[in-house]
Amino acid sequence: MTHDPTAHLTPADYDAIARELDDLREEIFAELGDDDAAYIHKVIRWQRYLEIGGRAMLMASSLPPAWLAGTATLSVAKILENMEIGHNVMHGQWDWMRDPKIHSTTWEWDNVSPAEQWKHSHNFVHHTYTNVLGKDNDVGYGILRVTPEQPWNPVYLAQPFYNALLAMFFEYGVALHDLDLEKIRRGEDDREVTRAKLRDIGRKVRRQWAKDYIAFPLLSGPQFLSTLSANFSANIVRNVWAHTIIFCGHFPGDIDVFEVGEEQLDGETRGEWYVRQILGSANISGGKLFHLMTGNLSHQIEHHLFPDMPSNRYAEIAPRVRALCEKYGLPYHTGSLRKQAGSTWKKIVRYALPGPSRTPAPPRAPLAKSKEPVAA
């Protein structure tokens, strides 16, 4: 973070960026129709076929090929459900269809994190305060040091190990996320609210476990243990995959974190907010199937610019967003999964150790001043 990638931008540039991106958004939203609805219906249908298929194969889970095929199929089903369907539906990407079955207010996902709490910590906190230190709990998830701006502490020595643990049990990390552990540690939380949230998490965990670790294993009779191990494995596969993709979204390479004061966030313009999303997000390159399996979070930049745009449209607007970044001299972080994941892990190992000694970058974003505050 030696140079400021936005030093050359003028207030007029920020206004123009806001205008161009608003226009792009409007253009896409005006086009939404039957084809988009057919897309999400199709993904949901296939996800359910895969889930049924995987569970059915695991009724013969004592046979190794059935165990393997069933676990793989169920893993894919869980990944699709959490990422391309659940995450995006809960963002309200499909609310325009007014279908109460596919709506952000009604969707509950196949994950131990209750939808209601996840929507708060993710949709509001993370998407509004993206990569703002002390505001966005997704920066290191409250337990990792991922940037020199975070002061070192000997606990971080173990972070490569507990990041691996977090990857395997990511859904539990996500579930605890909205509790804001930092606040609880400082005793600043509302105990009543925390208890209510814990109760909800407990209820959700019970239901998920009852399904994956009791009901389906029982249904497979004498193969109880092999079905249980298959379901456990599918959950781990989904967790590791989700963790990998999500960590690639904001941590790799030279991505920015921001030290921004409350008053600056309040005065942030829409253009500045857009630019912060671009600087704070990274894409992963890949083919169509890969994008689908990441829930289109491989288009993290586009997703952060337009969190409620249906995910099937991100690939379409990506070249235009990239062109806009080139036009205004902004970085457009992207790379292969190998490169992005490698760089994320490199950071986690590097920042487990003390240093580099660097004073936090001076507050520099937001950079331009204007009257129109950004809408949350």
Binding site: L32, G33, D34, D35, D36, A37, A38, R45, R48, Y49, I52, G92, D95, W96, M97, R98, D99, P100, K101, H103, T105, T106, E108, W109, D110, R207, Q208, A210, K211, A215, F216, L219, D308
Partner: protein
């Protein structure tokens, strides 16, 4: 409401199956096989679309397992997906309960009617629609009165047709007069069937009026075509002017309780009031609405998932509890509302800031 008692083995099995399908419901998977098996979201499948007259079609719908049946003359709410977006409207059923369990609605495409135009011109057999329970008081009592007058104009014939077909199926026709106005002979909906019914049942008298030729039927002219109108229990359905005239006419004769009317469309006054910030408390959606936009439209435009139905202030599907503020009734222009009042969001606009529990 449910077809199966709550303690039946099937219900218990369905409940147990939830442990396997959580966070979804068993029917979310069963729906892959047959979408009509939903109990949470009753559905129907359009089986046939038949042209009745220019711009008018009858849709035959096979309802799903949860359909509770209906009485002739009632309406139902139907939800269709147009360009990916769910729209709900109410239509009168044109069929009595049928032995094959199917039901029909007869729809006239109106120039600005998104849903009616879709149903008449674009809907194809196989399309899945959402249904809600039939409702409405525009029905024949039991026992059926000895003398009946049906007064209809245009597509107002549909609920009356359901009643006539019901009487026909029951085989006991009371002394019935049908006075039916259409623009031209070509616009008469169910013309052949009505005439055949009149030929078959001597107790049934059909008076057809073609307004393009004969001029509009003024209710004052009614004694000319049905001299004993005052002795008859009357059901009237058609445009607002006809019903307003009829109500005034029966009122003046001191016979208001003999007349039942069914209104299809309410003309919104649309007075441009002050508008205001509207907050939908359940979803947390907030939107600035002007004084002429129904709260329902404003909320939907802002992404709130709101209950809706007729969109004309009739069916009360869209009501929400007012938490604060006042609203303007777009039909009358009246500003009203106190905390706790149930507000019809489809015909109410914001009169200042409004909070509503939806």
């Amino acid at each position: 409401m449910h077809a199966l008692p709550s303690r039946s083995p099937v219900r218990r099995l369905a409940k147990a199956a939830r442990w396997l399908t959580t966070p979804l419901l068993p029917e979310d998977y069963l729906g892959l096989v047959n979408p009509l098996w939903s109990t949470v979201e009753p559905r129907g499948r359009i089986e046939d679309v038949r042209r009745e007259a220019p711009g008018v079609a009858t849709l035959r719908i096979r309802p799903g397992v949860e359909w509770d049946g209906h009485r002739p003359g009632q309406w139902l709410k139907i939800g269709v997906d147009i360009d990916g977006v769910r729209h709900w409207r109410t239509f009168s059923l044109s069929s009595p309960p049928r032995p094959d369990g199917r039901l029909t609605i007869t729809v006239k495409a109106t120039p600005d009617g998104l849903v009616s135009r879709y149903l008449v011109h674009r809907a194809r057999p196989g399309t899945i629609v959402r249904l809600e329970t039939a409702d409405g008081e525009f029905v024949l009592p039991s026992p059926v009165p000895d003398k009946i007058l049906f007064l209809a104009a245009g597509s107002g014939i549909t609920p009356i047709m359901a009643m006539l077909r019901g009487l026909d199926a029951a085989g006991t026709f009371p002394d019935t007069v049908v006075v039916y106005s259409s623009r031209t002979p070509g616009d008469v909906i169910f013309g052949d069937e009505l005439r055949a019914l009149a030929r078959r049942h001597r107790a049934l008298t059909l008076v057809e009026r073609h307004t393009a030729v004969d001029g509009r039927l003024a209710v004052a002219d009614l004694p000319g075509v049905c001299p004993d109108w005052a002795e008859r229990e009357t059901w009237a359905c058609g445009p607002a002017e006809l019903l307003d005239d009829a109500e005034a006419h029966w009122d003046a004769a001191g016979l208001a309780e003999r007349l039942r009317t069914e209104r299809f469309r309410v003309v919104l006054a649309g007075t441009g009031g002050e508008g205001g910030r509207v907050r939908f408390c359940s979803s947390g959606v907030e939107v600035d609405a002007d004084g002429a936009t129904p709260l329902l439209d404003a909320g939907e435009g802002a992404g709130a998932l709101l209950p809706s139905g007729c969109r004309m202030g009739i069916c009360y599907s869209c009501v929400g509890r007012l938490r604060s503020g006042q609203v303007r009734d777009l039909r009358t222009g009246e500003v009203h509302g106190e905390e706790g009042h149930m507000i019809q969001t489809c015909v109410s606009a914001a009169a200042g800031p409004v909070e509503i529990d939806l």
